[in-house]
């Protein structure tokens, strides 16, 4: 995978609501023709989607970044979440029943 393709994937992984093509111009000076070719190549690989001029990672793209990226441990302790606290993300307004045995008296 080319360097610019990796940069796009990583930046999208770290974005919350996707990024516009112009963002990649402002960050990396990618010309319009280049960004279009990069988007095409990543769409062909089904790694990204584009809706209303916003680029987002597909599920496959997200998994690709997770498996291919070596994450460096940050020096900031608040960025390193202990493994015990990592679980499946609850969807908005989903029902949540606490486990009473974990709640102290």
């Amino acid at each position: 995978m080319k360097y610019n393709q990796k940069k796009i994937l990583l930046d999208l992984f770290e974005s919350v609501n996707g990024l516009q093509p112009y963002t990649f111009y402002s960050r990396y000076k990618l010309k319009p023709e280049i960004i279009v070719e990069l988007i095409d190549s990543l769409e062909d690989k089904k790694l990204i989607e584009i809706k209303n001029n916003t680029l987002m990672l597909s599920e496959e793209g997200r998994n690709y970044v997770k498996t291919k990226t070596v994450w460096k441990k940050s020096n900031n302790k608040f960025e390193n979440i202990p493994i015990d606290f990592i679980q499946e993300k609850l969807s908005l307004n989903s029902f949540y029943v606490p486990n009473l045995s974990y709640i102290s008296d």
């Binding site: 516009q20 093509p21 112009y22 111009y25 000076k29 010309k31 319009p32 023709e33 960004i35 279009v36 070719e37 001029n53």
Partner: protein, 279 residues
């Protein structure tokens, strides 16, 4: 290095997504956009290009198959049929390209027995040999002038048993509708780029914008006057080219896209190439 504002950048990216062929013509595109900026008519150029029908090989094959299906549905006996290019003389013509490629498409569909004739005038002798189902073919119908002339000639020179079929790969919807007394089939029909798209103030502004753009073109090249091609030959305002499959661009297309020289008689960086004798 060119610096882009957000809106300009996004507009270009959006245009490239709609018209991928422009990615390989970025220098020519930027040249045209720079010219349009001197007259604040960049929006017009973007609008015309977004609606441009640049035919690639896949779409061309689709259109040929539409024509083949029309013939399957409307011709009862191919052994009495001649498919004739509307080419008038011995010069190469795009009607012959369409005829040749259509013949191959028909062969794939196992349709055979018809004669394929590469010059309009030869239809008479083949008619007299028994090929009485006449199918005339051409690439593009603009003003309809050529078609009317050919139809008048053929009806004067032959006592026709059936009305001929006139087939065009692409053409102007308004012209086809106005010639409803003729049997015309055209799978790709389009509106005029400005007068059948804009209304009221937008229409008058964009007509003037196009005249401003054309002021950058050389008014006379050899004996070809830009005036005769202004807004496309016959004022067709066509947005179409077969360049994507090694075809020519009709002179019905706005000359801003293909006119070879600028108003200082220098060769232009033009988006499309039109081959025409005399240029």
């Amino acid at each position: 290095m060119k610096n882009y504002k957000r809106d300009d950048y996004n507009q270009l990216v959006s245009l490239y997504f709609k018209q991928r062929w422009l990615v390989n013509k970025k220098d020519e595109l930027y040249n045209l956009i720079d010219i349009s900026k001197t007259h604040t008519c960049t929006e017009l150029v973007h609008s015309l290009l977004e609606r441009f029908n640049y035919i690639d090989n896949n779409y061309y094959q689709f259109l040929l198959e539409e024509i083949a299906e029309y013939l399957e549905d409307n011709i009862d006996d191919f052994s009495k049929t001649q498919i004739v290019a509307l080419a008038y003389d011995a010069n190469t013509d795009s009607s012959q390209k369409i005829l040749y490629d259509l013949s191959n498409t028909l062969a794939f569909k196992k349709i055979k027995g018809f004669e394929s004739i590469n010059q309009f005038g030869k239809a008479v002798s083949y008619y007299k040999k028994g090929y009485t189902n006449l199918v005339f073919i051409d690439e593009f119908i603009g003003s309809g002038r050529t078609l009317k002339g050919r139809n008048d000639w053929i009806t004067k020179n032959l006592e026709l048993e059936n009305q001929p079929h006139y087939i065009f790969l692409a053409g102007l919807k308004s012209t086809i509708t106005s010639l409803n007394e003729l049997n015309i089939f055209c799978p790709l029909q389009m509106n005029k780029g400005i007068t059948e798209y804009y209304e009221e103030d937008d229409l008058s502004n964009n007509l003037q914008n196009m005249l401003n753009l054309e002021s950058h073109l050389c008014p006379v090249i050899n004996d070809k006057n830009l005036e005769d091609y202004s807004f496309g030959y016959g004022k067709a305002e066509a947005l179409y080219s077969l360049e994507g499959c090694r075809g020519n661009t009709p002179n019905n297309v706005f000359p801003i896209f293909w006119w070879p020289k600028d108003n200082e008689n220098r060769d232009r960086l033009k988006l499309l190439t039109r081959r025409e004798n005399g240029f």
